[in-house]
Amino acid sequence: MRGATPAKLLENAARAMTSLCQLESGKEASAVRDFEAEGIDRKTLLVNWLNEILYAEQTCGEIYDRFRISEASDNRLHARLYGQAPGTTASHIKAATFHDLEVRKTAEEFEATVVLDV
């Protein structure tokens, strides 16, 4: 995943992960949730953020496809999630892991690699 800023990287990571689960086409976004994620550093924040999304999907039966991060630092973020509820397709992703986790800054942008447990 890539993003021009750390916040964009986090948004794009969420989009990349949730793109693995298809939503019903043409259905309006009916689920909107606000939440926060924390981590001791940028890498931990990324993994925790993705796992927050998976937890919300699994316990609320919702599937999200749009993410707006209103505030992000190296160890905390505030976000709003948009999606469909109740989800007719369960996510097959169990978790984001720390395995071979990479977050790096290149000359133009931020890049990350996350391995998902499926």
Partner: protein, 483 residues
Amino acid sequence: MLNKHNLVRVAEYVWEIPPTFREDMRVPARLYADEDLLDAALSDNSIVQLVNTATLPGVIQHAIAMPDIHQGYGFPIGGVVATRLPEGVISPGGVGYDINCGVRLLISGATVEEIKPHLEEIASSLYANCPSGVGCRGHLRLTNSELVRVLHEGSRWMLEKGYASLEDLDRTEEFGRMSGADSAFVSNRAHERGRDQLGTLGAGNHFLEVDKVAEIYDEAIAAHLGIYSGNVAVQIHCGSRGLGHQICEDFVSRFQETVRNYGITLPDRELVCAPFDSKEGQEYFHAMACAANFAFANRQLLAHMIRRSFEEILAGRIKGFELRQVYDIAHNMAKVEEHEIDGGSVRVCVHRKGSTRAFGPQSAVLPDDLREIGQPVLIPGSMGTASYVLTGTAGAMQQTFGSTCHGAGRVMSRARAKRIVRGSELRQQLRDRGILICAGSMSGLAEEAPLAYKDVSRVVDVVHRVGIAKKIARLEPIAVIKG
């Protein structure tokens, strides 16, 4: 890059990477394999992961890999790492996400010939009674206080509720209840994820299988376990579901900071750990024991539902179909055990991730009727191939902290298996071979195609030959139920 030249052959099926291979290694790394299985192990990153586990604080003797080793998250799957207590560490990644994933084997007095005319009905009933698939919900809805009792008492709670017999508990590792459980250290999220998942299989490589006893290698021990050639058996393979997964996730995240606080440097962030006797280490152990108890209770409830299916379909039609429990084993767990090392008894934390406890005869932790023969060891094969019943040995106690292999071991990723195998075609191929398949997801079925796994017979032959388990019987599937 690690290759064959970095390994020293110390015995016919034992390979070693000396601690001089990498300066952060504290002990040698050992792999049990024949030449072909060694090549398979070298085809992914699993041996590097094995070397990584040899760097953990307090690791003792060897970091060990079984012949079914394959790449996991941080720790390889098919590994055993023991740390000397009290200074040694406990690592959630060394247990894995599916805490107390394990296998239960039930045996019937009825033969395959007697049951075959009713097999389709039995398979349909099992599929209905034993919910499977991602996020599936069970028949029991637990209140908060009931869930807490399950976490603390495991199969003993099931006994109180009439879902288990005393014999079932006797024939379960830890007698179905892991000590040290304290639900105060299990997050609300883990409680939420577990509340309605008791008595469910889940997805992935989890399954129910109706088998026939195809071959006996040791008639006396097999008879002692109630296993006779031609009889029907049922295997259950599953674990602690979302609850165990959430506990692992919680502590892997939290221990990212813990390792910093204790000044522990690691080659992979999934190896995060804490000194066993530290506050953090103890909290993980208490939570892990809760997940272990949830998994024991889960397999117990599934066993109850399987017995109900057999009763519903076979009562009045054939005699002697009742299912008795052979044993229930865990293959993802960390345990405190005493082992003989260099002539003395040492207290260690043994991490078995994709490895089965295989305590030999005379072990004090076994029930009286198993003490003579050693602990039964259950090794499921890949879908459509054989599974094995073995027993633990004195050799396992001497070589591998009383541990052996856990299954066939993956050689192909799920994604690749899905690309090259069509689930519906695989189902037909297996049906043509006389194996009935009930599966909720054809892509899930494709992921578990036999070609994605090593040859389980080869894996079992290695552990038998090196003496870290003893072959007793071979099972072959006649029906498979999957999510």
